[in-house]
């Protein structure tokens, strides 16, 4: 059986200290929760990588190619000769291409954000409302046997309180 333990901190440096100690003790399933983005998390928990940029790039490429094709195919399907100008001209269609590049790039970034941040999440997850106000929290998922050890590490690092939560 696994346990979910949350430590509540008043100070950000205590939180990072707790995270460092937990990491050093071999716990991997560590989440930090805070009302603002914290600097220095990567130093403690290791660098983070995300697939977000790939989503953005993929969306932008699809948008660019798709936008140009949309303009070009519309012109080919409904040929509208104007003076001696080409049916598929580059300069105006590049503007359409640019706009659709941004449009799909933005939408893909949004999807990438949801995908890589595990959102939306409608089920209850370990969390306390104080973390959006003025408290910092660490959540550790561990075996029941290791729960006491986790609680002790959290309290030693200055936790105001430690809670076991059900998910």
């Amino acid at each position: 059986m696994s346990a979910n333990i949350i430590g509540v901190y008043q100070y950000a440096d205590d939180l990072l200290d707790a995270a460092g100690r937990l990491k050093a003790s071999g716990f991997d399933e560590i989440e930090l929760m805070s009302p603002i983005p914290l600097h220095g998390v990567e130093k403690v928990l290791g660098p983070k990588k995300s697939v977000l940029r790939r989503f953005a790039l993929f969306g932008a490429i699809v948008g660019g190619v798709g936008g140009f094709l949309m303009a070009a195919l519309s012109a080919i399907v409904f040929i509208l000769p104007t003076s001696g100008r080409p049916i598929v001209p580059w300069p105006p269609f590049l503007i359409i291409t640019f706009e659709t590049t941004i449009l799909l790039g933005t939408l893909a970034t949004l999807i990438g954000f949801f995908f890589s941040a595990n959102l939306p999440a409608w089920k209850d997850r370990p969390y306390l409302p104080a973390f959006s106000d003025n408290r910092f929290g660490v959540h550790v998922g561990c075996d029941e046997d290791a729960a006491e050890k986790v609680e002790k590490i959290m309290l030693d690092a200055g936790a105001e309180k430690v809670e076991r939560v059900k998910t």
Binding site: L52, F98, L107, F131
Partner: protein, 444 residues
């Protein structure tokens, strides 16, 4: 209050959250007036125009474009306040942006919606709007993507989408704060709106990246949007419009009027939501400097536009110029110059830049000037096209005047609803500007 004179995290929440739930008589009065004006000033005349035809507007032969398109440029211009400025300041890591950007981005969104309404009003036969979408229709027609009007459709759709995403994603952590401080149905609604945000290190990391990507994508987009709007005019061969300077002229004018719009909104937010501790002299001072710079650039481009018209030696251009500078609408032209070129020069004085009330009046005057500029672009050019037998005169009809007034009510209504749904100041970003609570800091 913390010991360093800064507000605490809790105080930031306490300053913002009540603004969403407190409904004063002032708010209800403002909302009632704006909804009434919106219905009777905007939607009723529009309905009338749809019913009797676009002839209800003052447009006629030679002057096919009127106030609707002038207003369209104005609202698109105003939309350049928020998202563009917010994105630029985000990329350049300007912390002072954090307490004002949410409202500025909302301005962008609502200005764009108002502008999009104008496209539909101008269209006349609204029920054919789907013809701008590349799908086969009953006539077998496909849109002509070589036309700047189609550039417009794409640009505005993209800008509206990107701006909506930009403001919404920036608000997600704050929606979580609202959820955590609400009860009952309101809590459930905000729980959905924040997508289950918990503020984990992973979520902040991804949001930071996504937000930066949005900002990077939005900056060239915003520039392209108003350039494209300018090409609606500049790609025609109408004297007075056919200038290569139009794209930078429009973009500069857009940021100019948008920044003035931010100052106006900031003044009211500060005053009525009591954000005195968060929207300070520094914000007005910085925006004042920006307004001054933009005014100087705008004046330079304006002079350049007049000069190239005169220097062309083309009698058509010179007639268009003469009509603009000395014709029927000349008083409006000189009013524009006074409000947008000369008045902002007072912003050289720091005393004026940090005087809230003076800044409010200057910002309003600038936007009156910019509104006039957009009106003159359509009202003084098309009626002076080439040969004198094609000359005409454009005067807005009552329907156009009503819709113009009504559009301000559309914007105000949307904004008044916004301040009760979104936290009008970004709580988490304001908290970021404060000292991080640390044990080391608490000891000193």
């Amino acid at each position: 209050m913390s010991e360093r004179g800064q507000p605490s995290y809790q105080e930031v929440n306490d300053a913002v959250l009540p603004t969403m739930t407190t409904f004063t008589w002032r708010y209800w009065t403002a909302l009632s007036i704006s909804v009434t004006v919106m219905i009777f000033g905007f939607f009723a005349p529009w309905w009338y125009q749809l019913f009797v035809g676009v002839g209800a507007a003052g447009m006629s032969r030679a002057a096919y474009w009127g106030t609707y398109l002038g207003n369209f440029i104005f609202w698109i211009g105003l939309s350049h306040s928020g998202t563009l400025l917010s994105a630029v300041l985000h990329i350049t890591q300007s912390d002072w942006r954090k307490s004002i950007y949410r409202s500025a981005e909302a301005m962008t969104l609502f200005s764009l919606i108002t502008a999009a309404f104008y496209v539909m009003v101008h269209l006349g036969r609204l029920w054919f709007v789907h013809w701008t979408v590349p799908i086969p229709n009953v006539m077998g027609l496909w849109p002509n993507f070589r036309s700047p009007l189609m550039f417009d459709v794409m640009a505005i759709t993209t800008y509206l989408t990107a701006s909506s995403i930009f403001i919404y994603m920036g608000s997600v952590p704050d929606f979580a704060t609202v959820r955590d401080n609400a009860t009952g149905l309101r809590r459930k609604i905000y729980a959905i709106m924040c997508f289950g945000w918990r503020g984990t290190d992973r979520e902040w990391h991804r949001l930071g990246w996504a937000y930066t990507f949005f900002a990077v994508l939005v900056i060239p987009l915003a520039v392209s949007v108003h350039s494209i709007v300018s090409w609606d005019f500049a790609l025609s061969i109408v004297p007075g419009l056919h200038h290569t300077i139009f794209a930078p002229y429009f973009v500069c004018g857009a940021i100019f009027s948008g920044t003035a719009g931010i100052v106006t909104v900031m003044y009211f937010l500060r005053k009525y939501f009591h954000f005195e501790r968060y929207i300070t002299e520094k914000h007005f001072n910085n925006l004042g400097k920006l307004l001054l710079l933009l005014s100087l650039i705008w004046s330079y481009i304006n002079m350049l536009e007049l000069f190239t018209g005169w220097f062309s030696g083309s009698s058509f251009e010179i007639e268009a110029l003469r009509f603009k500078l000395f014709g029927f609408y000349a008083p409006l032209f000189w009013e524009m110059i006074a409000f947008c070129a000369f008045l902002p020069l007072v912003l050289f004085s720091e005393k004026i830049r940090t005087n809230f009330r003076l800044m409010l009046w200057i910002s309003i005057a600038i936007n009156i000037g910019m509104f006039t500029e957009r009106f003159l672009i359509v009202a003084t050019t098309q009626p002076r096209k080439f040969l004198p037998d094609a000359f005409s005169f454009y005067m807005p009809s009552l329907v156009e005047i009503a819709i113009t007034i009504g559009s301000f009510a559309v914007f105000t209504t949307l904004f008044l609803v916004f301040v009760k749904v979104f936290p009008s100041m970004s709580m988490y970003e304001v908290k970021e500007t404060l000292n991080l609570p640390t044990r080391k800091g608490a000891r000193t």
